[in-house]
Amino acid sequence: MADLLPEHPEFLWHNPDPKPSYDAVIVGGGGHGLATAYFLAKNHGMTNIAVLEKGWLAGGNMARNTTIIRSNYLWDESAAIYEHALKLWEILPEELEYDFLFSQRGVMNLAHTLGDVRESMRRVGANKLNGVDAEWLDPQQVKELCPILNISDNIRYPVMGATYQPRAGIAKHDHVAWAFARKCDELGVDIIQNCEVTGFVKDGNRVVGVKTNRGTINTEKVGLCAAGHSSVLAEMAGFRLPIQSHPLQALVSELHEPVHPTVVMSNHVHVYVSQAHKGELVMGAGVDSYNGYGQRGSFHVIEQQMAAAVELFPIFARAHVLRTWGGIVDTTLDASPIVGTTPVENMFVNCGWGTGGFKGTPAAGLTFAHTIATGAPHKLNAPFSLERFETGALIDEHGAAAVAH
């Protein structure tokens, strides 16, 4: 029988043991960590580097997000970095030689109040000025693009219009991680799973090594890409981050025929919905209010987002929830990420992406790699420094970023 079975396909990456030392160590083997390692190797020729992952590759928020990609942020700094990410998403399948099902099916952000309408139109204008594709749709145009949406006035918050970004969409999150991991591996990066960081070795205020459950690894530079656990790592290294970790939940239905042609987000009744390539309806909403590292949240959050979804999409009333889950998101007070240097010499941090990290993956990797390699930020991540909390130059995307956080 055994010789009837096909050969096992090539593994996409190896599982090396950690070497005694590296030029740089990235902590966190999710999308951001892998993208950072990829750009360090490709753009900066740093191939003697390792990505340490405490669990399995891309098993944290990379496995738990709702895969939405868009760049229709209000403020210039955010539009620049997210639009750069979107442009990278457009070329990465070819560059990584991996079709990770990036589908530019558009993202719609619904408006349900006069305030929403004004905010949306302002954001469309700001987006256009920043070279981000954006348009305002009236309810009829909303219905034409997404026929299953209820635009009648028989619901509590009728649809008064929407912003629409045609180049936005979704991608297959696992495949994105595997695409980066395979290229990293080809370029000589060590991807080390089941390797948990337990501390750092410092010489004065300079980091010189990483302590792990698989021994101490010497390194010249450390990049933290640990999302919800960033504060825990920072504490080990002896500094603080203005981060609060919250549970963020999502859910999927069972498989359905294709009924939902785009991505619909509603800030006001708070749900976002797309249909995965396989057919599941994928939904998410806001974070649970309390701090949490439990990768689970409270059920009323799920209940409220489903109620919102059924009002907007009456056709979903007979669908069933197949699965719900939670991730730990690293939120900042201004709902913008932190990508830059830290108070510890040669240690760099990429965190604070909160509920929007997936879409930012390529730009996070590109800019963070630049920061680690050169010791100074790329022009795209310079505004997203830790120092902004002292200077007051916040990038306040709360409510401005087309979704409440």
Binding site: H229, S231, V232, R240, L241, P242, I243, Q244, S245, S289, Y290, N291, G292, Y293, G294, S298, F299, H300, T332, L333, F389, E390, T391, G392
Partner: protein, 101 residues
């Protein structure tokens, strides 16, 4: 959903409450003397403990009173409920007497 024991109203669903974040963060005693770093600490930096965390809640749809709790941020178990202004209770388990436990 968390079941939170309001000190005034007893155990109620989480949906009756609002979260107030880290407890025991005092307003600066000499605000005029703070530098930018110290203001940043006060305004934007809060503990983000993995483990037992002292935090504030308000019973919005009940007695509308604020109170503190100690909650494990991994298991979400609530270990103590105590009034505003009180010191954080010591919840370290007593040393076991003898081997049997």
């Amino acid at each position: 959903m968390l079941l939170i024991s309001c000190p005034n109203c007893g155990p109620r669903d989480e949906t009756e409450f609002h979260y107030g974040g880290q407890a025991h963060v005092a307003y600066p005693e000499n605000p005029n003397q703070l530098n930018d770093r110290e203001w940043a600490e006060y305004l934007f930096y809060r503990d983000n403990t993995k483990g037992t965390f002292a935090e504030r809640w308000v019973h919005s749809t009940g007695c509308r009173q604020w109170f503190n709790i100690l909650r494990d941020t991994v298991s979400y178990d609530i270990k103590a409920v105590y009034p505003m202004g009180a010191l954080r209770p010591d919840t370290t388990p007593a040393a076991p007497e003898g081997a049997a436990k």
